[in-house]
Amino acid sequence: MIERFVLKVNGREEAVSVSGETPLLYVLRNDLGLNGPKFGCGLAQCGACAVLMDGVEVRSCVTPVASVLNSEITTSEGLGTPSKLHPLQAAFVAEQAAQCGYCIHGMVIAAAALLKRNPNPSLAEIKVGMNGHLCRCGTHLRIVRAIERAAEEGVRL
């Protein structure tokens, strides 16, 4: 059944008319034009679709839109723009922490969630914190360094 929902996304209220069980991912991408979150597996295994829900990482590919109505959703577009990057995103650029970059939106989101709960993570804590995110290009080391850089720079989420 199609219903009208009002979502809070990247600090704005957005109205959409969809079925309540629709995974949030498709609403973000197709209704709101937010292409940061990507379809990777639809199984919550890879992390390409990750978004922040009230500052905590969730997998939008398995999150029904009806379940997020009272929460603040943040995608990488809500953090910064290419010309005005969030300091966390700037740390990724400074470390050139991407190759194909298909996973990198999810990595930025996971890093934001990690730094929010632990502003100074150890290497081991970063590895554990990022472990549910897959990268096929082998850019892991740079992603770790980007998070270390952001922590050293005192980036706050």
């Binding site: 199984l43 990724f92 190759q99 970059g101 897959l134 096929r136 892991h140 080391l141």
Partner: protein
């Protein structure tokens, strides 16, 4: 002026649309810039205007048929333009892989974008600089020989003021003719080259090339606004999903359209055995594909999975080829003190890109526009034209970056899926594969079994090395071997054999390789150094086994068997980097074994090479391997962008470790059964070793490939570490706990 020229002129000339070239890869998607006309003709490589355009504001746009698979090609090409044209790199934009806008430069494969693909780019930029100098000479009334170029200006040698490129030619054509060096079949598929009329700059004269210029694409990628093929949307577009057979070769007997009747706008799309669904909303297309009831015939074409390596050599032989052959093998074997024979098995593996294959197609009765992440826009265009029954001139293929592909894979398949669906429903269709479509149906890196018989003398010199491999071709996607085309019927099949053994670089009196290509069970296509990755796993494993038999340290053993200075340098460099000490089998009392392995590899004709040392800890009770450290020394000749190269080398290293440690496609008699990231594991953050990388730049050597050369020796280095830790050499991959425990 043709329609094509008009559209190019609009793209180049209008400041608002000029951004498209950059915006295409950076931010938004402007469909009106490309969608108005169908393909007119290929942009001819003989015209300088096909390659470069200068706008009034001085922006230089490069049009290249090569594409960037996430490796930084866009930025490297801009570096070349900056240096050859003497223009600030910030003024360079790159448009890639649009069959209507960019010259045909063949396939983006084999890590040859720089080595091969950049050549016409450099020539075009150098010719453009000469053309600008000639224009300035005329305008200023100063002989060309007294002019110089700098930062986008032509100026007298003695003066600091000149005329900008934008002022000289902004928005106008160069009308300069270039000469294509050759048009053999190989030139067409690997990419044409141009004959330079002006000498190209030498490496020592580069100012931008050779520097760690930050990649153009990364800011938009981390901001989530980068324009991937997955983000292409066109007006009136439907979402499509494929419904694959339950078994390879199964025939579609019947479809129950009512099974999707309750899903809004869902429509079944069928042509022979090709089956899919479309719907206005993506989630509805997914639901419909899941709900659709269809009857298929039974089919059991695949062998018993547990016996694939025994079966491979028994398959019908397509061709039995000599790789290299020198000396007398029997005499070499007789000379040896240590004599060994070993068989190594390398599994079927996935390219396993994170973003499943995706394409958008807009097909009507007389033309088609396809947006695809294909690594060969022109080749795929031509295949899809044949499949659709359209003249190739009426098909435009617009490349958009996909998820990293590491070899060709499902991108071309998804393009064919979208094209057929769009042709059937008469509307634009976007198809993205689901995860199980990707893992289940992508063309794989084929399995290989390799046997080596060899010997070493008392001094540790290898006296004989006799190698044979059995594998299907690693290039079964070159002639329209699309899945969809097979399912609708009439696919031309495959026609190129690749995946031969690497050329063995050791100085061995008697060495021989046989490459036996057999009939395939599954579609196969190249994955990072096809044949090289597999054969070097076998070569370098065997070298360690021989070294052990001869009682010689494996680093020393390798140094004894190659006299090439660059081989010695990478081996010694990685020895220093890792703090190599002659090998002993060590065991800890707490149930953990430690081991260290070394291996080296070359890529191409030896333009690139790497050596690695990998350290592991193995839990004795489970056989589980922990990677503790990986060191790599890397030499690909001239280094164009050091930071970008390290990114590629370390990526290849980690991907190679992932393949060796975890990766194996599994199947039953019907089809592939490893359908998601739990069934097909790849390396995770928790498993990262400490990594040390050393580049060995050689500006005067021929340029080598980067991406694949960093990955070729990883599996052997890891296997040799397991050998060191356990005293038993692994003979197959992946090195999963069960296997490691079994050999201990």
């Amino acid at each position: 002026m043709s329609g094509l020229d008009l559209s190019r002129r609009q793209i180049i000339g209008n400041a608002g649309v000029l951004v498209v070239g950059f915006a295409i890869r950076g931010a938004g998607f402007v469909s009106t810039a490309v969608g108005a006309e169908a393909a007119a003709r290929t942009v001819v490589p003989e015209s300088l205007d096909s390659w470069l355009a200068v706008a009034r504001d001085g922006t230089v746009t490069l049009f290249t048929g090569r594409v960037d698979l996430g490796t930084g090609t866009e930025t490297i090409f801009a570096q070349f333009v900056a240096d050859e044209l003497d223009v600030p790199i910030g003024q360079v934009r790159v448009v890639m892989g649009d069959t209507r806008l960019t010259p045909d430069q063949g396939k983006t494969t084999a890590s040859l974008n720089v080595v091969r693909g950049s050549q016409p780019v450099r020539v075009a930029a150098a010719e453009a600089r000469m053309a600008l100098v000639a224009l300035a000479a005329e305008k200023l009334g100063i002989p060309a020989g007294e002019l110089r170029t700098e930062d986008g200006f032509v100026l007298p040698k003695s003066a600091s003021n000149g005329i900008s490129y934008g002022e000289l030619i902004g928005d106008r054509s160069f009308s300069v003719t270039l000469e294509v060096a050759g048009r053999t079949a190989e030139d067409i598929s690997r990419g044409i080259m141009l004959k330079p009329k002006t000498p190209l700059k030498a490496a020592k004269d580069y100012k931008v090339v050779g520097k760690s210029i930050p990649r153009f694409d990364i800011p938009a990628k981390v901001a989530g606004t980068f324009e991937y093929v997955h983000n292409v949307r066109v007006p009136g577009m439907l979402h499509g999903r494929v419904v694959r057979p339950p078994a390879i070769g199964a025939k579609l007997l019947s479809v129950d359209g009512d099974s999707v009747g309750s899903i809004a706008g869902a429509q079944v799309v069928r042509r022979n055995d090709f089956l899919g669904v479309v719907a206005p909303r993506e989630e509805d297309a997914i639901r419909a594909a899941f709900a659709l009831q269809a009857k298929w015939s039974t089919s059991e074409r695949l062998p018993d999975f547990s016996s694939i390596y025994q079966e491979l050599p028994k398959l019908a032989v397509v061709s039995d080829e000599v790789g290299y052959n020198q000396g007398d093998i029997a005499a070499g074997l007789a000379k040896g003190k240590t004599r060994l024979k070993a068989t190594y098995d390398f599994p079927f593996q996935d390219h396993a890109m994170i973003g499943p294959s995706c394409a958008v197609a807009d097909v009507n009765s007389d033309r088609a526009i396809i947006w695809s992440g294909s690594q060969w826009p022109q080749g795929d265009r031509s295949d899809i034209a044949k499949m659709l029954g359209l003249p190739v001139e009426r098909v435009q293929l617009i490349w958009r970056e996909a998820s990293g592909s590491y070899g060709r894979l499902g991108c071309d398949d998804a393009a064919a899926d979208a094209a057929i669906m769009s042709q059937i429903v008469g509307k634009p269709v976007r198809v993205q594969w689901m995860r199980d479509d990707e893992h289940g149906w992508e063309p794989l890196s084929p399995a290989m079994t390799m046997t080596i018989e060899g010997a070493a003398d008392a001094d540790g010199r290898v006296t004989a090395f006799d190698y044979v491999q059995y594998s299907p071709s690693h290039s079964m996607g070159e002639k329209g071997n699309h899945l969809a085309w097979h399912l609708i019927g009439g696919a031309p099949g495959w026609g190129r054999k690749s995946g031969s053994a690497a050329n063995l670089w050791y100085d061995i009196e008697a060495k021989r390789a046989r490459n036996v290509f057999v009939e395939p069970w599954l579609r196969g296509i190249y994955l990072r150094s096809p044949g090289g990755t597999q054969s070097i796993f076998a070569y370098e494993s065997f070298m360690d086994e021989l070294a052990s038999g001869a009682g010689i340290d494996p680093l020393e053993f390798r140094l004894k068997n190659t006299h090439d200075a660059r081989d010695h340098d990478v081996l010694r460099a990685v020895g220093n980097l890792s703090g190599w000490r002659p090998r002993t089998v060590r065991s800890r009392s707490d149930g953990t074994l430690t081991g260290r392995g070394i291996a080296m590899g070359r890529y191409g004709a030896g333009e690139s090479r790497s050596a690695l040392v990998v350290d592991v800890e193995i839990e004795r009770s489970s056989g589980k391997i922990a990677l503790t450290q990986a060191c790599i020394a890397f030499d690909c000749g001239f280094v164009l962008n050091p930071d970008g190269l390290i990114n590629q080398v370390e990526g290849g290293l980690l991907q190679g470790l992932s393949r060796a440690l975890h990766e194996q496609v599994k199947f039953d008699r019907k089809r592939v059964t490893s359908l998601n990231w739990n069934d097909y594991r790849i390396l995770t953050f928790a498993e990262l070793p400490e990594v040390k990388t050393q580049l060995i730049p050689r500006p005067d050597e021929p340029w080598g490939a980067a991406g694949e050369a960093g990955t070729v020796a990883t599996a052997a280095a890891l296997a040799n570490a397991v050998f060191d830790a356990t005293g038993k050499h692994p003979r197959r991959l992946p090195l999963d706990p069960d296997y490691v425990k079994a050999i201990m």
